[in-house]
Symmetry: D2
Subunit: 473 residues, 4 copies
């Protein structure tokens, strides 16, 4: 998958982190954001408090860019939250960087949020009709308005109140000088895990953030849960009883880091099983198995193990690409794909290649890679996708845009094969995917996963008019 | 292997690129440097000419950092050379960034150079005695002085003259407004390849730079060769007849990109064979094979293929680490290793793990990784190194420092095992390494490779007093 | 007067600019902000619209720093407002940079504001009690909330509504995609002038901004006025009938640029008359008259003209001082005053010097300058101040802080003389100041000026508890 | 006079500073460069040594820009030299920033230099013929080569040797780890003064640098002098006996800071006398006297004093202009002159204005200012220039370019008057200028001043073919 230079087929998501009761809370948050950076490289920010004073910084770019020399030095505090934001074309503004900080009737609060509200536009209208003003295009500001308008004067109560109004996906961290409030939407659409580090409690979008700070994984936050951490300890409660787990299955397929566990299932292992299942469903005689780095390597290894065809490094991702200021001719511009990804000629030359990718969204990237492999001498290129065809847009935080742009929404598998110029093409079945992930859950449909992008069955009501325009994350 | 944050055990090298006869020569050089960036992230620079005017820029950091908005826009020319420089602690100065540009009696020239002269200090003294002044600590400036002091007025002749004086490793690109001169030292210690793109000729430290610009590989530059490209075409000659190929075998083991071919041998495939050979020499009963990313993945796949033990992604390298400005407590500082590398708990927990690494230099990094794997629950950690013990310093451009720092110089394999706290440890044999690389060459010792760091047999004379202090690259 | 390096005795104010009906509205706003930069060097920003799209940018530092390469390029529009903000220690944050931009029930608006509301803290509490949230510490956000909560759906009507609630000083520019709304508080505490450039109408804190863009001065905005400029032309109305002009007389004394006219009176000429009046009131036999640059030069020239003692350049202000990163010893730190201001030894050596300054606030700067003159050899230093003693804090936008810090609040003239170590000291009388400014206005007290800092008579009600903590500008 | 935005008629020069025997030598050098910044804003640099280690930094822009956060922190040493470089269009490169640092046969040295060698091109050719290479276009590198090629092994001796070869203007500071060597050319074309600060000795282009660090003026360096400061104390000697003082009189007229003294004559006082003399020579009936800031204010005050016509601030220089990134239409571009300079309408409106300027070079700036004054309502504009017509180019460091660009080289005073659109125009006579400066010196022609730009009599031989192309400073 390509980022930054070549337009991503699937945009990344956001990452949130929070910690309470550690004397280096902001520094640990900084480390945590490093681990979550694959979920967003547009901006990063941290809010912390020592119980009285606030310490705040937000900046554009990677965590290491957003926090320049000296920016973190002044930070103190035993409580902190942080956020990394994903890249979008239009709204790359410091104003939208999180956490957002607000003063309101009860004092001050900071809010960090991953996910996408499906009724944000409607709530904005209602709030504006009551006289609210908005300075960002972020859903997070909607949540803050609702908290501030609650009649509850305690932060946890006000957050609980606010959550009664919002629909969609949210993994939420709210803090004031004394309390860290953690909440997950009723469907648990986005992942959120709890950890412990000595006496400190921490929360993160992915467990890889715990490893970096040396914290122990405690448990996943449950759909509809509301957790309050303060000097009185941890209070585990719920903000709604109407819950039904529907966690985004794409976290396993593409978003999460291989070393993260979601609901106890390791992402690398799940991907490897997806590859094995894919091999079982659509094996093919070939000389070599390759994966599109980084997200499809695990599946490719699994595919190779099952088929017995050797796995090779057939595509190399350039680790050192950043924002580039080159204005070449059209001819050169097309070479830019090679700045990000290169084929290993000696691996594919004269070979029948099976190329494993995690998904096809618009199909343009797949086509570019197939061409690159043929340029490098591949005799045949067989594409195997370790997930089913993406036929429906996501309204919960994943930028799959409109249905028209999804190649599988309008084309058959054979038509897609022609479009990407592959010798053969197969997707994983929905059932095979579920089986491979391995999560069994009889209390929820689809074993507790949201499969909407594959099946069109959305776990929440969607007002298709309203849901789209909102800014994700 | 770690870079930037955690002190590298082996420092990277430099990368050079040159091109003649393309109307977007500087832009292609920029792309070429992107592909060579794993060879140096400290600084980058390009010199180009349109036959009359010169266009020059050098900057600190990655290519994308060194060339800011607008820096490349003004560049024109049909001839260009570029350079990426590796990271050193002491001399991270813009003055040392290459290419260096000089005015001299015959006009102007630019010089880019990869390697390390073993008689640089002596030459400096001689030149200074004749009244020369030096503004950098780079060997490249020594070469420029020698060129300028030649009695030959043509650039190729003057370069040839200059090369009679220097000893050691050099892969060299020199240009003026009309000519590109390419030279390799008599031992061919550093790799250098030629490519063609339509009517243009290009040269690069590694073939991966040709793929990014769409050029075709033509051939490797031979030891002692001197190649001149200008409006009269290509003149292939030699600057010495006393040649004996001794190419640094560490290029296969660690430095080069997996998609590059050196002397027709693909680096990934060579590394995979190193892993297979390592398995053949020192197999062990275990549950899982893992590799230290990125350089040891190929060997780990090979090791797994041979042993039949599954290869898993047991260590994850964080793609988004840059320079960080965090000043945590000592406790936190030790967590910083996790910013760069993470263990995948579910992969290693309760398992007997074989960890493949390409080399051990000081041993501190290996020890950190072994500990990280144990923290993540590994039951046993067996370390297998896909090269022999490094027992001797390199004087040709690789920063293995003094002999005292090399753990294998003073400790037995068993003592190293204890130092890195592994359950078992094995290195590849010198013979096995040679066999696995697969280059057969009866005309040169060691099949044309320099094995000095393993064997202590240096292909050139070394004045140990003089050779050390010089700045590499 | 010192800025940046040496803590200013009087902080500067903010500058606002607006323009309607010019196809280069944002570019002219940029030039206008350049002319207003003496009113604030902390941050600068511009909002513009082409009738549909918005163009926004804010940045820290001088206008030339806040708008980097390319930032203004993308701007289009026929309507724009801009703002430069003054330097404060605590709240130097991009969040507080203006103009602020808001979305609300009726669409979008941008707000730029100079002045200080005396009931801002109270209004915040009221608004927060109604559920409002605040993201900045700026009074401007309070105004925006009030506009958004108006029942009027047209911008001019809503602004008029909002202004019924606020008390204090405000020179205000509000815009949406189609309308520029200009308002001044009922006392006209801050200056605001109108200009014309062809068919375009412009507004600025000072007339010097018209000269830079080639606009003609039209007239000053009157206290209580509300002016709307849109496609229907210019509508001049009022937002209140209860007006009483009390313009800050310090604009003449210190803030405004010498080339600006306020209410038809040129600032340089007014200052020169202040100097002449000062000479008439407290002449002294001396050898040379010098002024503290830049603000006291005009008064010094006037003083010299009246006394016949020659005016000389006895103090030089270094034009090139910026933010410096030097950490010298204590000894050197005291030299830092010399980075900003130098005495001209040959001018003062052995002389009886009259040093003219515009005001004394805390007295520390005056003391430093007197010492500097003595170090340079001055035989006597007689200090003459071209305004009366500042004995009361300002609540309308000038950072004279609390009464305790004002040296004249607690010390007699003789005590101040001793504190600053002058040989003699005299202030201008309040009557003399009024006479010298020359504005005659029988319809308002004090000829239409606010003299509160000298007399303690505030033109508006002040709740001393509430008024202080708010952020100025 | 305009800088940066509007092309200067006269470019500024460079400033040098050096100090020996102070434990904060680099910090004092930093302060000294601040005071010398009017002599060059393109780049700044410092080299220091603690007797063993070197500390070096150079950067682009003002001193405060060139030295970013932390750059000076690491500096130590009891000996240091510094340099500020003036702005040129073509060669604004970090490579040309000074001090330059060199290693050579005898060790290391750093060189900072103000002035322009008239035989630099010839020396370069000779040096290149001997095999020297050049990395900059600076004369300073030529001097370093000559030092390195001396047979003397001591630095003072080698400098003395080198100076036998060079012709032209140079105020030179050379240092190694133990010695500070100071030299001035045989004509003393550029100013250079010595100061003392406790036990430390310092040297600077202007005495204002002593005031900033609290040093006492000791004496001016004499033409042909060579001064060595080291642990043995101060050795005052000469490098040539053939001296004849010809100091650039433009230092008094334009370059130097008003608070500096040159050869005991204060610059402000000299300028004031120039104005008085100008009034005596070409008085005119008028209403107001104004000066072009900053360099002509002193002369305007003098002119006013003599004529009795009031001096007013009729032109304001914007203090806050930096590099701007605005790309307006042609119409707006012409407004850019107003970003730098504004007329004070109320001062000049309806008035007969005498505008004092220090010099006319190309005449374009004068014309712009005359127009600006007329736009602001001036009834008549009489231009009086406090120096004679500049009719000959300077080869000693002042960028008056070729003769063709000098308006006075080809036009009569009446023609110039028409070109700048003034009502009348008068220059100061050469004799009047000499008289006003007030330096009496019977041992040298022209009282020891270089008047070449006015008279065409150059104090050194000039090879007009060779002298021009060299880079000044």
């Amino acid at each position: 998958m390509f980022d930054r230079i070549i337009w991503d087929e699937l945009n990344e998501e956001c990452g949130v982190f929070g910690i309470y009761n550690h004397r280096e809370a902001p520094q640990l948050t900084y480390l945590g954001l490093h681990a979550l950076q694959h979920r967003g490289q547009e901006s990063a920010g941290i809010c912390a408090s020592d119980g009285e004073k606030w310490y705040k910084h937000r900046g554009m770019g990677l965590v290491a860019e957003a926090f320049g020399k000296g920016d973190l030095e002044k930070f103190k505090g035993h409580i902190a939250i942080g956020h990394t934001r994903y890249t979008t074309a239009g709204s790359s503004k410091i104003e939208n960087a999180q956490p957002l900080f607000f003063r309101y009737a009860q004092g001050s609060m900071a809010v960090a949020h991953n996910g996408n509200l499906v009724n944000a536009a409607l709530l904005r209208k209602e709030l504006e009709a009551k006289g609210s003003i908005f300075q960002t295009t972020s859903d997070t500001e909607v949540i803050a308005h609702l908290i501030a308008r609650s009649e509850r004067t305690d932060l946890p109560g006000a957050v609980k109140d606010a959550l009664q109004h919002i629909k969609g996906a949210y993994a939420l961290c709210v803090m004031n000088e004394r309390q860290l409030v953690i909440a997950l939407d009723p469907n648990g659409l986005r992942p959120l895990s709890l950890g412990r580090l000595g006496d400190a409690v921490c929360v993160a979008s992915e467990t890889c953030a715990f490893d970096i700070i040396g914290a122990e994984y405690w448990r996943d936050v449950q759909p509809g849960e509301l957790i309050v951490v303060d000097e009185n300890g941890i209070v585990e409660s719920t903000h709604t009883e109407k819950t039904q787990r529907s966690m985004c299955i794409f976290e396993y397929i593409y978003f999460a880091r291989p070393d993260s566990d979601i609901d106890g299932i390791n992402v690398h292992m799940a991907r490897k099983r997806l590859g094995k299942q894919l091999a079982a469903e659509s094996a093919i005689d070939a000389d070599v198995i390759i994966g599109v780095p980084d997200s499809s390597i695990s599946a490719a290894i699994g595919f190779a193990e099952t088929t017995g065809i050797p796995y090779e490094i057939g595509l190399i991702k350039n680790r050192y690409v950043g924002r580039t200021f080159i204005q070449p001719s059209q001819e050169l511009r097309e070479r830019a794909v090679h700045m990000k990804l290169s084929a290993v000629r000696k691996v594919v030359e004269g070979k029948r290649v099976v190329m494993i990718d995690d998904s096809i969204v618009r199909g343009t990237t797949s086509n570019r890679i197939v061409r690159m492999l043929r340029e490098a001498g591949a005799k045949e290129v067989h594409v195997r996708i370790s997930s089913p065809p993406v036929m429906n847009p996501c309204f919960y935080g994943i930028d799959t845009s409109t249905r028209d742009e999804l190649i599988a929404a309008t084309k058959s598998v054979e038509e897609i094969r022609q479009a990407i110029e592959a010798d053969s093409l197969a997707f994983l079945s929905v059932e095979g995917m579920q089986e491979a992930i391995g999560r069994k859950d009889s209390t929820a449909p689809n074993n507790g996963h949201c499969l909407a992008c594959f099946t069109g069955q959305y776990p929440t009501e969607i007002d298709f008019e309203e849901a789209l325009p909102a800014l994700k994350c």
